[in-house]
């Protein structure tokens, strides 16, 4: 009997919360609303699925869409060798989402990076400050409206560029 895909199992269990599932190019993806993130992750961490590893957490800026930012989470299960992608859309006016630091410890730094690069606020994060950019840097570099070459030097440069 062929093993049931994780996306189909989730769709059966949570039919209203899961907006869409897809398996493009073999990557199983679920699209949900942000309120459901915490419950879904708690459910997935338990057996039999045991998605115990948070592989990656990132954000994409779709500047032309109404819901501008899309959070992308990649989870991995060592027991069943499955990968799962969770996508959540956020709008620019209400750029907040629950933090996953209580569940996975590497979410701490991953969320700091997303805050630094995109400006997304994570509620419940113990220490949400910039990770890569320096104190005094204004703006969020990876957003599409931040120009590539806009430099903000800390010390005065000796010659004009």
């Amino acid at each position: 009997m062929e093993k049931k895909k994780i996306t189909e199992i989730l769709k059966e269990k949570f039919p209203e919360e899961i907006k869409e599932i897809s398996a493009l190019l073999g990557d199983e993806t679920v699209i949900i609303e942000r309120e459901f993130l915490q419950d879904l992750c708690v459910y997935l961490m338990k057996t039999p699925h045991s998605f115990t590893m948070l592989l990656d957490l990132t954000c994409v800026d779709y500047i032309r869409d109404e819901m501008r930012f899309e959070m992308v989470y990649h989870l991995f299960s060592l027991a069943s060798n499955d990968r799962l992608r969770i996508k959540i859309r956020l709008s620019e006016k209400d750029l907040r989402i629950d933090s996953l630091t209580p569940l996975w410890k590497n979410a701490n730094w991953l969320e700091r990076e997303v805050y630094d690069m995109f400006g997304v606020h994570f509620e419940g994060h113990p220490y949400l400050v910039r990770l890569f950019m320096y104190d005094g840097f204004e703006g969020h570099p990876l957003r599409k409206d931040y120009p590539l070459r806009k430099r903000q030097p800390i010390i005065p440069m000796r010659r004009k560029e």
Binding site: G26, M53, L55, D56, L78, N81, P141, Y146
Partner: protein
């Protein structure tokens, strides 16, 4: 700006800074320590001193152009990052490289992995005082870099693995050099096992220091040698085999404790397994010396002759393009015309070739994958190197994100050094193999 450690520190303890430019910092990372004498009570890391804007730069370059940027991420094993990016693109485009190219990729990848482990252990042992081991490791690395340079043209940042295959076939005289590299790597492993394995000083410094339990390792998202040192058997080459890794036999060494000594031991054993893989893959890629052909056109003559009729005979290319002649193309690159650089013989002697060349490199044309997103990962020197690419149908990626394995491993450093001494930070940090390019992107 006041850091968290400054706010939380108690009045009696001393705050000290292991600043960004420090001999043991493997590049630039800043560790702020709260000390009680020599014991570390608390630590805070500040990263980002090598943030070079890789992800934003890639949004402004075409898919083919951004290949050199991927070399400079994990700069001790550049071919593996190349491979990760290229395989992600191949997954998105739905193409596959020919089998010979895949075996060549495996050989190059494993040579890179050996050079990564050699550099990591060289730095780790040198900082603990074993200077001889450092010189031996770097000498073995030189031999491996000679092999890589003979085929790819560069010692480090090669951009050799291309979408659809590899850039050039193996050099016809690779066998003696590769044999010498493998022998010197084996001799080195024997020497360093003898120098360090039962050495009382080394054992005292690395045994039972910074123990990471399997649950903590999985919760932090560790992958690679650091995860395997804690006892969890996960290797991307075995779990999701890619690129003919399922046709070679190798084992995955595991550690028991999860301390520094296990991280060192797992890396040493992995190098032996990589040598096994190279020997097996080598048999599948026979090299033959190039046949001496009587009538070989010089380039200027060939261009002149092609104005009258199509040139069929072999054209002598410049030495920079050795190994990528037109008759070798079917062995090393896939057939699809849209994804590979057309052979130079066609570009310079026929109109169709010239048009294909322009269509590949012109802005707005070239490789344009279908809309969508994809994630693919390979086993790098420090763990699972993953690429997440979002494409919007144009010739530039809309978003390219690297899942760097070092990022998650270094995030655990604060917890790992708590309760140990300052001198324990050095082998701990060395054993994690932090590479600045991958951590800060």
């Amino acid at each position: 700006m006041t850091y968290r450690i400054q706010k939380e520190a108690s009045k009696e303890s001393m705050l000290i800074n292991m600043g960004p430019s420090h001999p043991a910092m493997h590049g630039t990372i800043r560790i702020m320590l709260e000390l009680d004498g020599e014991k570390v009570l608390n630590a805070e890391l500040e990263v980002g001193y090598l943030h070079r804007g890789f992800e934003k730069t890639c949004e402004h370059k075409t898919y083919f152009n951004l290949l050199p940027y991927t070399d400079r991420l994990n700069y001790v094993s550049p071919l593996i990052n190349n491979l990760g990016y290229v395989m992600t693109m191949e997954k998105m485009l739905g193409i596959q490289a020919p089998e010979r190219a895949q075996f060549i990729r495996v050989i190059m990848s494993e040579l890179s992995r050996i050079s990564d482990h050699l550099t990591a252990l060289a730095a780790m042992t040198m900082e603990c005082g074993a200077f001889t081991a450092f010189l031996y490791y770097i000498q073995a690395r030189e031999e491996i870099w000679n092999v890589i340079e003979q085929t790819t043209g560069a010692r480090m940042t090669t951009s050799y693995i291309r979408i659809g295959g590899v850039r050039a076939d193996l050099h016809p005289e690779i066998n003696p050099l590769l044999g010498k590299a493998i022998n010197s790597a084996r001799a080195l492993l024997k020497d360093c096992h003898g120098l360090l394995d039962k050495n009382k000083i080394w054992l005292n410094r690395t045994r039972d220091v910074a123990v990471v339990s399997p649950e903590m390792a999985v919760n932090y998202g560790f992958t690679g040698p650091c995860l395997r040192a804690s006892g969890v058997s996960y290797d991307v080459r075995k779990a999701h085999p890619y690129c003919t890794y399922d046709q070679v036999r190798f084992e995955i060494p595991l550690g028991d404790n999860g301390d520094n000594f296990d991280r060192y031991m797992v890396r040493m054993k992995e190098m032996e397994q990589s040598l096994r893989i190279i020997e097996q893959a080598r048999k599948k890629v026979p090299v033959s010396p190039p046949a001496v052909i009587a009538d070989v056109f010089e380039p200027a003559e060939a261009i002149k002759a092609s104005r009258e009729k199509k040139v069929e005979a072999k054209i002598k290319l410049s030495p920079n393009l050795e190994g990528s002649e037109k008759d070798i193309y079917p062995r090393i690159l896939t057939k699809g015309k849209k994804y590979i650089v057309p052979p130079k013989e066609d570009t310079y002697t026929s109109i169709e070739g010239l048009i294909n060349h322009f269509k590949f490199f012109m802005k707005g044309h070239g490789i344009r994958p279908p809309k969508g997103d994809v994630y693919f990962s390979v086993e790098g020197g420090s763990g699972e190197v993953g690429y997440y690419i979002v494409s919007d149908g144009t010739d530039k990626p809309y978003r390219l994100h690297l899942r760097g394995p070092c990022f998650h491993i270094v995030a655990a450093l604060e917890e790992m050094i708590r309760g140990h001494y300052i001198a324990d930070i050095i082998p701990t940090f060395g054993g994690l193999n932090m590479i600045g390019g991958e951590l800060d992107r």
